[in-house]
């Protein structure tokens, strides 16, 4: 649990809150981890989107593929995007909470 009122805060937490040199390093480490997580997931989806116009340009046969009568590009973009978005989102929420919790444990 969080810092209980009345109890003495740990020295690491004080360093962090006061942003001493060491405290600054703690924060930097936390931000790096969170940012790396966010960038990895964001780039995954951007790559998924970005590769589709390239496919259409440099490998046109893919636009002719049909699944149950529906062109594959429609299914991939118009339907497949959403499960991927939701999956990446839920991965993020659980990982980000883990990072926050580990960090809290470290400072306490």
């Amino acid at each position: 649990m969080a810092q209980l009122p009345g109890s003495d805060p740990s020295p690491r937490l004080l360093e962090f809150e006061e942003q001493t040199e060491v405290g600054g390093l703690y924060l930097q480490a936390l931000m790096r981890r969170q940012l790396r997580l966010s960038l990895t997931l964001a780039l995954t989806f951007v790559a998924f989107l970005g590769v589709q116009p390239l496919l259409s340009t440099f490998w046109p046969p893919w636009t002719a593929i049909k699944l149950a009568g529906i062109p594959l590009p429609w299914l991939v973009l118009g339907v497949g995007s959403y499960p991927l978005l939701i999956w990446l989102g839920s991965l993020y929420v659980s990982r980000a909470e883990e990072v926050d919790e580990e960090f809290t444990d470290l400072l306490r």
Binding site: F16, L49, G50, G69, I70, P71, P73, G78
Partner: protein, 626 residues
């Protein structure tokens, strides 16, 4: 579309339901905090439904389906981009911004950079983006009521604005949160059920993808044409007119400026009529018109047999099924720079979402960053459940009712298709989609009013004009600001009438992507960002995007500029979709200035702690006290 009592019933029922829910929720709204951030006591699921309700505007409910029907595959970037914008919001903004405890983007600008001048710049941008986003909602309300019920345009504008103003002034954020979550449920139901039944009844999703040729009328169709109306005939067309009339005819199609589509809804080309230098033909009874473009010189009822290639009104490019269903069709391919256009479009939609002020305000209604992230995740699920449906209407519309191309009603395809099921079921579904459309523009307009009233009441009044004002005066100011913004939006909506203002929505997205997006991302994640760098980046990105889009707008009334852009097609693409240039420029300006003249604002370390320290440590405080 003919006036229908079912549609009127659906609209009225939704108006009554919204008002009743607003009145009910009003009982819980007392304090300033209730009004502005719903006292931060909203559960993630209700809050997510409210955010989704607010996010799914008229453009999402009606516009996307119409655009898919017109342009095909390329339009799929819009719904996917709108949903994916939310992923980016979740990944980079949702948690830290909630922790920071600032209520509006101007709060963030001042809180992070200690600059009241920066706040004013941000307030200005919020107001500009907010009003440009509100206008199309008001306009869509008028047009939908007009086409669905036959009532005059102003009735829709007045009824929708009235309901929204009443709910926002009476209950503020607390009040509309309940209403918007209800409206979200109505919208998802209204878009998915008819689509599902249509798919069942008309033989599955493969229907519109079956043939390679032109869109052909599935049954005998009668159009009511008026003098001056333009038709593009994609093939030789046999028709019968009710009374003798004349047409001017020319070989070939229209000259079209490349990339003439804004971020949300297609803008019709300026004055195609002026370009016709064709032959005059007198028609009576039956006639066979050759392929080309015609302008009707008099009013008539024109009947085309089943199987005839559907004629197109001036605003829609003619396309074969193959071009329509493939990538780089009439939307992206028409520009001559398909890849550039596509990437810039994706960028504007994805990044613009993050900078929309009425979306960001919502995250402060969460109790903490953890709830804020979970809310954004639920929103993603909800948006996905909604956005797979609009393209279904667009695709079915091409197969089942291509007459909408000629009557220029593709934007109402969602309202037209359900009645094809016929009988009481068709009428019932028509009532349902009408209610959904009503929910779409009222909920978005409510959110915009809260954010406009927040900017005026909280930023302009509470921080600038009367910083010493007490909570009661602040609440009054919020209510008055909501009333004023609503009246102004409705008034502008009445004035613009049928003029195509969707360009303004594109403007709003482009400005948001190139100003607030870099400000938020760098402001949150890069401690060394300086005040000067941030301000210059916001000003440069915002004004470049504005300049690009104003140039595109001017080109529609200045023929010499339009011709110049028609030759310099790459430039034209960049001007109509500026994000791919303006977003990097804003980023470079921010980073460059901060590097050249280092010196981040005092206390930036404490601010970074506030943005990123997990609540579990127990260090937080908020801008708006409970």
């Amino acid at each position: 579309m003919s006036p229908s009592s079912a549609a009127v019933f659906g609209l009225l029922a939704m108006a009554a339901l919204s008002l009743a829910a607003g009145l009910f929720a009003r009982r819980f709204a007392h304090t300033t905090s209730d009004f502005m951030v719903a006292a931060r006591a909203v559960s993630p699921r209700i809050n997510a439904a409210a955010i989704s309700g607010e996010y799914l505007s008229a453009a999402s409910f009606l516009g996307i389906a119409g655009l898919v029907m017109q342009y095909g595959y390329d339009v799929l970037w819009y719904p996917v981009g709108y949903a994916a914008g939310y992923l980016l919001l979740l990944l980079f903004i949702a948690g830290p911004l909630r922790r920071f405890g600032a209520y509006t983007i101007p709060d963030f600008a001042e809180g992070r950079f200690d600059s009241p001048r920066f706040r004013r710049l941000a307030v200005g941008l919020v107001l500009v983006i907010g009003f440009f986003y509100a206008l199309p909602q008001v306009e869509a309300a008028g047009i939908t009521v007009e086409t669905a019920s036959g009532l005059p345009y102003w009735v829709g504008v007045v009824v929708v604005s009235g309901v929204v103003i009443a709910n926002v002034t009476a209950g503020g954020m607390r009040g509309i949160t309940l209403v918007q979550s209800l409206q979200f449920a109505v919208k998802v139901f209204a878009i998915s059920l008819p689509a599902f039944l249509l798919l069942l009844h008309f033989g599955g999703p493969a229907t519109p993808f079956g043939s390679a040729g032109l869109a052909r009328l599935p049954q005998k169709t009668t159009y009511q044409v008026t003098a001056g109306e333009l038709w593009q005939l994609p093939a030789a067309t046999e028709l019968r007119v009710s009374q003798p009339t004349t047409v001017t005819w020319q070989r070939g199609g229209l000259v079209r400026a490349p990339g003439a589509v804004s971020a949300e809804v297609a803008a019709p080309p300026s004055r195609p009529q002026a370009r016709i230098r064709g032959r005059r033909l007198a028609i009576s009874g039956r006639a066979l018109l050759p392929k080309g473009t015609v302008i009707w010189q008099g009013a008539a009822a024109v009947t085309l047999a089943a199987g005839t290639a559907a004629p197109y009104a001036s605003s829609t490019p003619v396309s074969t099924n193959t071009a329509w269903m493939g990538p780089f069709g009439p939307l992206a391919g028409g520009s001559g720079h398909s890849l550039l256009f596509t990437y810039s479009l994706i960028m504007a939609i994805l990044l613009g979402t993050i900078g929309l002020p009425h979306i960001l305000v919502r995250f402060y209604t969460n109790p903490d960053a953890r709830a804020s992230r979970r809310t954004a995740l639920v929103v993603l699920v909800m948006l996905g459940a909604f956005y797979i449906w609009p393209p279904v209407y667009g695709a079915l519309g091409r197969a089942l009712d291509p007459s909408l191309y000629g009557s220029n009603l593709t934007d109402s395809v969602v309202l037209v298709l359900p009645s094809l099921l016929g009988g009481w079921l068709g009428q019932l579904l028509l009532a349902v989609v009408s209610a959904g459309a009503f929910a779409a523009f009222t909920s978005t307009l409510s959110g915009l009013l809260v954010s406009l009233a927040g900017a005026l009441g909280h930023d302009v009044y509470g921080r600038w004009l009367r910083p010493e004002a007490g909570p009661v005066a602040r609440r009054r100011a919020f209510q008055l600001a909501a009333l004023l913004s609503g009246v102004v939006a409705a008034g502008l909506g009445l004035m613009v009438g049928q003029f195509n203002i969707s360009v303004l929505v594109g403007w709003a997205f482009a400005i948001a992507a190139s100003s607030f997006f870099p400000l938020l991302v760098l402001g949150i994640w890069w401690p060394r960002l300086t005040t000067a760098g941030a301000a210059l980046g916001v000003a440069l990105g915002g004004s470049l995007a504005t300049l690009a889009i104003v140039t595109t707008m001017v080109a529609t009334v200045a023929p010499s500029l339009e011709l110049f852009l028609a030759r310099e097609s790459a430039l034209a693409v960049l001007l109509s979709q500026p994000a791919i240039v303006t977003v990097p420029v804003a980023f470079l300006a921010m980073v460059g200035v901060s590097w050249l003249r280092p010196g981040p604002p005092a206390g930036v370390a404490a601010k970074m702690v506030q943005l990123h320290a997990p609540e579990l440590l127990g260090l937080r405080r908020d801008y708006i006290p409970e």
